[in-house]
């Protein structure tokens, strides 16, 4: 059981997912098996590091380099210092993409978080029947391609004959042109993200809930706490690390959203008036339509900074919201 794992490491809450093992002054790896010759470690990790340096790190570093150039696919390579960044700050398309990205991220992250914690709480109930079946169903949306699902959602959100507008019409309201509107297109895109990730994250929250010692619930019940209060005062505080983890992973992915808007709009523009252009879509537009590689690289660097800033803000907000139990 997962509780046994927690007991073994001697912690009462799920371990922080991104912290490496506790530092130990004497050993490089405090959990190592010392009777095995550690030098083999270099050989065993070498394939990873070599491949990663060539195809992962080197392109990123080179990307930073060309961001300071007027560099295009035809061979122009002219050093312009911060020129790309100055141009970017004055570029309306960049700010439009930034606002769209943040809006889609908010519209997807908050419902996704609420739904997935709620679902996990239902699945956490020990008297639930068929739990394996329900858990497996939750993962079904996650295995399909964004392309296939964007084709389906694009049709469902269609103006004239989309299922959603038919329901809206049957309820007596006017049809909504989801793709042409700004907020409505963001809702369509966010719904694809929520659909895809809610079940996956519910499983992650469920795993964290199963690691909460049962005695906490029993003593809360003895103190007269009902289900809702147990959830509020026992479950939620114990999920603090997991919520932060899911939020950070979701932020890194969510701020790079591009496949859904790309397929929905059918081009790198992000809709006729760029109403759902996102940062990464703008990067690809500059890189592979306009062929302004230096400029696109500068966009990539800005995305990295934005992801870092939003992740840090997230981190502190989650700490605050879920209580600071030291």
């Amino acid at each position: 059981m997962s509780q046994a794992t927690v007991a073994k490491t001697g912690k009462s809450k799920p371990p922080s997912p991104w912290k490496p093992a506790k530092p130990n002054k004497k050993l490089n790896n405090p959990n190592a098996v010392l009777s095995l010759n550690g030098r083999w470690g270099y050989l065993f990790t070498a394939p990873f590091f070599v491949m990663f340096l060539i195809f992962g790190l080197a392109p990123i570093i080179y990307s930073v380099y060309i961001a300071f150039f007027n560099w295009d696919a035809l061979g122009t390579q002219e050093f312009i210092g911060l020129g790309n960044f100055n141009e970017l700050v004055a570029d309306d398309r960049f700010w439009n993409a930034l606002v769209n990205t943040l809006d889609i991220w908010l519209l997807s992250t908050i419902p996704m978080l609420i739904f997935s914690i709620g679902l996990a709480a239902i699945l956490h109930n020990p008297s639930l029947r068929g739990s394996t079946f329900w858990r497996t169903i939750l993962l079904v949306p996650n295995i399909t391609s964004v392309l296939a699902i964007a084709i389906v959602f694009g049709q469902l959100f269609g103006r004239d004959f989309g299922m959603i507008n038919i329901i809206i019409g049957a309820l007596g309201f006017e049809h909504v042109d989801f793709i042409q509107g700004t907020t409505s297109s963001h809702i369509a895109i966010a719904s694809m993200i929520v659909w895809r990730w809610t079940g996956y994250n519910a499983l992650i929250f469920l795993a964290a809930m199963l690691a909460i010692p049962g005695e906490l619930y029993e003593s809360a019940a003895l103190d007269g706490a009902n289900k809702w209060k147990q959830f509020l005062y026992v479950t939620l505080p114990s999920l603090r690390n997991t919520i932060t983890f899911v939020l950070i992973v979701g932020t890194i992915g969510g701020l790079q959203v591009f496949a859904e808007p790309l397929i929905l709009g059918g081009s790198y523009n992000g809709g006729d008036s760029g109403q759902f252009s996102t940062l990464t879509l703008f990067l690809f537009d500059q890189a592979f339509v306009a062929y302004k590689w230096g400029y696109a690289a500068a966009v990539g660097i800005m995305i990295t900074f934005i992801v870092a800033i939003v992740s840090i803000i997230n981190f502190f907000i989650t700490r605050r919201l879920t209580g600071d139990n030291k």
Partner: protein, 294 residues
């Protein structure tokens, strides 16, 4: 015995025989789960409805909600527009299998070193792996495109395979798995019996992490199958397409032919759904294991 113990630890299940009085499953709970099941499955069902009815049947109010008779007509239309569709599916299986095997192999052995071996700089290397997972994956895409072009891999499947052979996520995941599932005592006693590092890895670590390796391989396979933008950038000729690029090709061939598009989407999704029937439970366990220890 320790193997059984390690396996037991990785299988979080609610206690079956003791149902505490303080918690009972409500009707609303089941209702929510049934609703979620409906929402999860409906888009796949809808894909088939549109593909089997044709666009005209769908473009009316109220739309058809049952399968129609035109499925094979639509599918043969897909093959008319893109005769290489089967080749694209085969290409995807080929690339996905190689990438999955390579990622498991490289991740497991590096993860073993990071989890169980003591060598200088080890801690910084792990930190480096974790930090690289935080970097946006699209940041280096332009130089990667230049690199692949320079190597002459544009419009070949090598452009998809070679850069995907290792991932920081895989290494980190395998490190967590080996740390949690392989007891140090087993490795210690093996080395006292004279086993070298590689022998200990081969005969003790690998059998224990078989399940987790399978799950990592599956996730790599799925990610490769569903990858969209990179194949679109580097592949040009239909013989080299992957399933996603093929489906996208259908999208751009005609204005909006929903039946054709959904027929292609169905063909590219059906293999995954069949695969999921067999491996779904293992994937669930993999996600949940990764969550607690990751």
């Amino acid at each position: 015995m320790s193997t059984a113990l390690a396996k037991e630890q990785t299988t979080p299940r609610p206690p079956k025989n003791k149902t505490p009085k303080w918690q009972k499953m409500s009707f609303m709970g089941y209702f929510a789960l049934i609703l979620v099941t409906f929402l999860s499955v409906f888009p796949f069902y809808w894909m088939f409805i549109v593909a089997s009815n044709g666009t005209d049947e769908i473009s009316k109010i109220p739309p058809t909600l049952v399968p129609g008779p035109r499925f094979f007509t639509v599918i043969s239309h897909v093959y008319e527009v893109l005769p290489q569709f089967n080749q694209a599916l085969l290409n995807t299986v080929y690339v996905g299998t190689i990438v999955a095997l390579a990622q498991v192999f490289f991740s497991a052995i590096a993860g073993f070193a990071f989890a169980k071996l003591n060598f200088r700089g080890q801690r910084y290397m792990v930190l480096f792996v974790i930090l690289t997972m935080m970097l946006p994956s699209q940041l280096g895409i332009i130089p990667l495109f230049m690199l692949v072009g320079w190597a002459g891999w544009i419009d070949t499947l090598l452009a998809l395979i070679i850069p995907a052979l290792v991932t920081a996520f895989g290494v980190f995941w395998m490190r967590q798995v080996i740390d949690a599932q392989v007891p140090n005592e087993l490795l210690e006693s093996a080395s006292i019996d004279g086993a070298g590092v590689f022998r200990a890895y081969w005969s003790i670590v690998l059998p224990i992490i078989r399940q987790s390796s399978f799950v990592l391989g599956l996730f790599s396979f799925l990610a490769t199958w569903n990858d969209f933008l990179w194949p679109l950038l580097v592949l040009n000729t239909p013989e080299n397409f992957t399933a996603q690029v093929a489906v996208n090709q259908l999208k751009s061939s005609y204005a909006i032919d929903y039946a054709l598009n959904m027929g292609g989407a169905f063909l590219s999704t059906a293999p995954l759904l069949v695969l999921f029937i067999f491996v779904g439970r293992r994937l669930v366990r993999g996600v949940m294991d990764g969550a607690v220890k990751g």
